[in-house]
């Protein structure tokens, strides 16, 4: 029984982690492609159109990966989490079905037109199809976060005698206080990913002294989008999201901040340290007194409940994992602001394209926004444990009753093998597109 739950969780975690590597770029990059295309329509400078067309190639590849790894997500609610689906399908089925009807059709219909229709449609309509693809991908994100928000903070429901969750207020799903902060936070994080990808490719061209016109354009666009999104992701949206956790999931908040004991006179903020769950303390701790209280409640001496105030059975299942996920996300987020700030200062002084160490830095930053996005989601998901629906349905109660651990392990191993192959193919093909570079005056 324990094994079964473990493999079910591993399979969902693995497939969703791999899947989300792609949509985060899809959502951010679609915005930047629309920006390039818009810039072209306004200035009529071919460079912008060529840039849009170059990124569309990466986008198409990335989108295809997102689609093929996304279909298993929708299936797995039923295959591996049947009990959860049965009990809550009347509610989360709403938002998931809406995602299919409103965003997937929009994205997929216009993606074909966007990729193959430039000649047939002309530039203005081509821009419109690009915008609609962008809209579809962002609508998809919205409905997924609406689903996620309901699991974190259930609203608009009642529970029947047979344990089923029944919707009694449709609009509550969309006015959920958890939804807007999480959505904005997540979308900004996806713009960070695309900004870093675009500026990394630009830096690669500048350092290699090829396609330098595009190198400059990509670096400039990337660092400007990057600075704005890196700042906004931390404040106000990150702050807002964390306050939601502190208010509605105090035990999660204590675990992710590494607060084992309530401190009188205000809590310190932990910068570094390893959670020692057995002895209920942090090893090798470096912390700044009272700052956490101030950040959370704007009072230096506000009380923050430590883990000691809660029942152990309600502790997040994996406290060290949650703590690290959160600290990695916050640490990387801080580094992003730093490097983007430096890059923008050099851009303003018109020295950026010659400042090699920043270009190298931008290029090597490429994987880190992916890590930050992933650990951010781990913070949310590990933080919700041991619950599927917070405080109402435990994860152990949601798994499929008839699927044995042997069958789940079989499919988990299959997914691991298949996705490793997909990841390898993606890297080879994306590398090939980037190495070839943008083509001049294709239009």
């Amino acid at each position: 029984m324990e094994d079964m739950l473990f493999y079910d969780r591993m399979q969902f975690a693995f497939t969703i982690t791999f899947h989300y590597l792609f949509p985060q770029l899809t959502m951010g990059l679609s915005l930047m492609i629309v920006y390039f295309k818009w810039k072209f329509l306004r200035t009529k400078i071919d460079k912008y159109n060529d840039a849009a067309k170059f990124w569309m190639k990466i986008f198409a590849l990335n989108f295809a990966m997102g689609v093929v790894t996304g279909i298993p997500m929708e299936f797995q609610f039923g295959t591996n989490w049947a009990k959860f689906s049965e009990l809550t399908g009347g509610i989360i089925g709403q938002t998931l079905a809406m995602e299919g009807m409103f965003s997937f059709f929009l994205e997929s219909s216009f993606l074909g037109l966007f990729l193959f229709g430039e000649k047939l449609l002309g530039h203005k309509l081509h821009f419109v199809t690009g915008f609609l693809v962008f809209l579809g991908s962002w609508a998809s994100g919205y409905l997924i976060i609406a689903t996620h928000s309901w699991m974190q903070y259930p609203v608009g429901y009642e529970i029947l005698e047979n344990g089923k969750f029944v919707l009694n207020n449709f609009s509550a799903l969309f006015s959920n206080p958890w939804l807007l902060p999480s959505y904005l936070h997540n979308q900004l994080a996806s713009i960070i990913t695309s900004s870093f990808v675009v500026s990394a490719v630009g830096a690669f061209y500048l350092l290699n002294k090829k396609h330098t016109e595009f190198g400059k354009l990509f670096v400039k666009t990337g660092v400007i989008f990057g600075l704005i999104s890196s700042v906004l992701v931390a404040f106000p949206t990150g702050d807002w999201t964390a306050k939601n956790v502190a208010k509605h999931q105090p035990v999660t908040f204590a675990a992710m901040e590494g607060i084992f004991e309530t401190e009188e006179g205000g809590s310190e903020i932990v910068l570094i340290g390893q959670p020692n769950v057995l002895e209920k303390k942090l090893d090798n701790k470096i912390a700044v007194p009272n700052v956490l209280s101030f950040l959370t409640y704007q009072k230096w001496d506000a009380q923050i409940k430590g883990l000691n105030e809660f029942n152990e059975e309600d502790y997040p299942t994996n406290i060290p994992g949650l703590y690290y996920a959160y600290h990695i996300m916050v640490g990387l987020g801080t580094i992003f602001i730093g490097i983007m700030l430096l890059a923008n200062i050099q851009l303003f002084r018109e020295k950026l394209y010659k400042t090699k160490w920043i270009l190298w830095g931008l290029m090597f930053m490429l994987p880190f926004p992916y890590i930050a996005n992933t650990t951010g989601w781990y913070t949310a998901e590990l933080g919700r444990q041991p619950w599927l629906v917070y405080n109402l349905l435990r994860t152990a109660e949601g798994a499929s009753p008839t699927v044995s651990s042997g069958n789940t392990l079989f499919t988990l191993l299959g997914f691991i093998g298949l996705y490793l192959l997909l990841g390898l193919l993606f890297l080879i093909l994306a590398g090939k597109i980037i190495n070839k570079g943008p083509q001049l005056n294709q239009s």
């Binding site: 399908g89 059709f105 299959g414």
Partner: protein
């Protein structure tokens, strides 16, 4: 309300089968009949800009199933665990084959992805037929052993096959000779359907050969349907009871018959699109006749201990179903608009689209 969502779901599934069906069929043709590079190119051009949007119908139908009939979604997706995951893998392989083939110009690379695309299309057509077979045959709900349920009444689990490959034992498998027969019908009918689509959308040299193939396979199809009707009583003693009590339901078998008989005239059609029209009628009629024969059951129980799953005992609560009607109507109008635009822009023959070239 349940009936409304049942009809919506069945229509979405039928649209999915008609649309992605021609993709699978094109893949099968690609595997067996396209030898020259030019012919292969024509086939991928004919489906290239469409397959992704077509596949969305499956995801959207899955979403509507989850939302309107959560118990059926939970029961069938966990019970048919292995075949569903295998279908997912095949869908991934197929998409990857189609999208990656043109990325590197190398004979070996191209032939590997050609095979991946073709074989996964073939297996998907087979599996979807097998899936339909499983639904009408029914499953051992509650995993009853010796008259006692070992699970909750609406849960079950099926292995891929049992040692006897028989649909009449207590411990059933996904693949038995009955479901396999429906799988083969699936392969044959989608091959015909895919060929019709290629004839419709291209000027390839293959078209005349494809017309002959459609004509010949149509005899096979008709034969298989007659066989399946003759043995149908083995899995359902009263296969026609719904049709006898509701004579208007005969419209579905009649549509099927028009589709299959019309195809015998494939060589004489004045317009290239007629063949596709008739095979679409056949697929729509075949699917609807099959599900109509077991209505209101959606997953029959093969034991006497646990009741069948019907649209009434698997549906979500009334409020959710009613509120869904509003957004669904808005969404479906938008979807029809998208498809009209898409098919209008890519109307006519597709030989020059240059799909998959980078």
């Amino acid at each position: 309300m349940e009936l409304f969502w049942y009809i919506v779901l069945m229509c979405m599934l039928a649209i999915y089968v008609i649309l992605d069906g021609y993709d699978f069929g094109a893949g099968i043709i690609h595997l067996f009949f396209a030898k020259k590079e030019k012919d292969k190119k024509a086939i991928t051009n004919a489906i290239g800009p469409f397959w992704d949007a077509n596949e969305v119908w499956l995801i959207a139908a899955g979403g509507v199933l989850f939302f309107a009939f959560p118990t059926l979604y939970a029961s069938s997706f966990s019970g048919f665990y292995l075949p569903l995951i295998i279908i997912l893998w095949l869908l991934i392989f197929r998409a990857v084959g189609l999208e990656l083939r043109g990325q590197i110009h190398n004979k070996m690379w191209e032939s590997i992805w050609d095979k991946a695309f073709g074989i996964s299309s073939l297996l998907l057509a087979l599996f979807f037929g097998v899936a339909l077979g499983n639904v009408v045959r029914g499953v051992n709900l509650g995993n009853v052993v010796n008259g006692v349920s070992t699970h909750e009444a609406h849960y079950f689990f099926l292995p891929l096959w049992n040692p006897t490959f028989s649909p009449q034992t207590e411990q059933l498998g996904i693949i038995d000779w009955f479901t396999l027969l429906l799988g083969i019908i699936g392969v044959v009918s989608l091959t015909i359907h895919g060929a019709n689509w290629i004839i419709f959308k291209t000027n390839s040299n293959l078209n005349n050969k494809l017309k002959r193939i459609v004509f010949n396979l149509n005899f096979v199809l008709l034969g298989l349907i007659v066989i399946s009707l003759l043995i149908w009583h083995i899995i359902e003693p009263k296969p026609f009871h719904n049709f006898l009590s509701n004579p208007w339901l005969w419209i579905f078998p009649v549509i099927t018959l028009i589709g299959v008989l019309g195809l015998f005239n494939v060589k004489g059609f004045k317009k290239d699109g007629y063949g596709f029209l008739f095979s679409s009628l056949f697929l729509f009629g075949g699917l609807t006749s099959t599900v109509a024969s077991i209505f209101p059951k959606v997953l029959p129980s093969t034991n006497t201990v646990n009741p069948d799953l019907t649209i009434y005992n698997v549906a979500a609560h009334d409020y959710g179903l009613s509120v869904g009607v509003y957004w669904f109507i808005i969404a479906i109008i938008l979807v029809i608009a998208y498809f009209t635009i898409q098919y209008r822009v890519f109307k006519g023959k597709m030989d020059d689209v240059g799909y998959g070239e980078h």
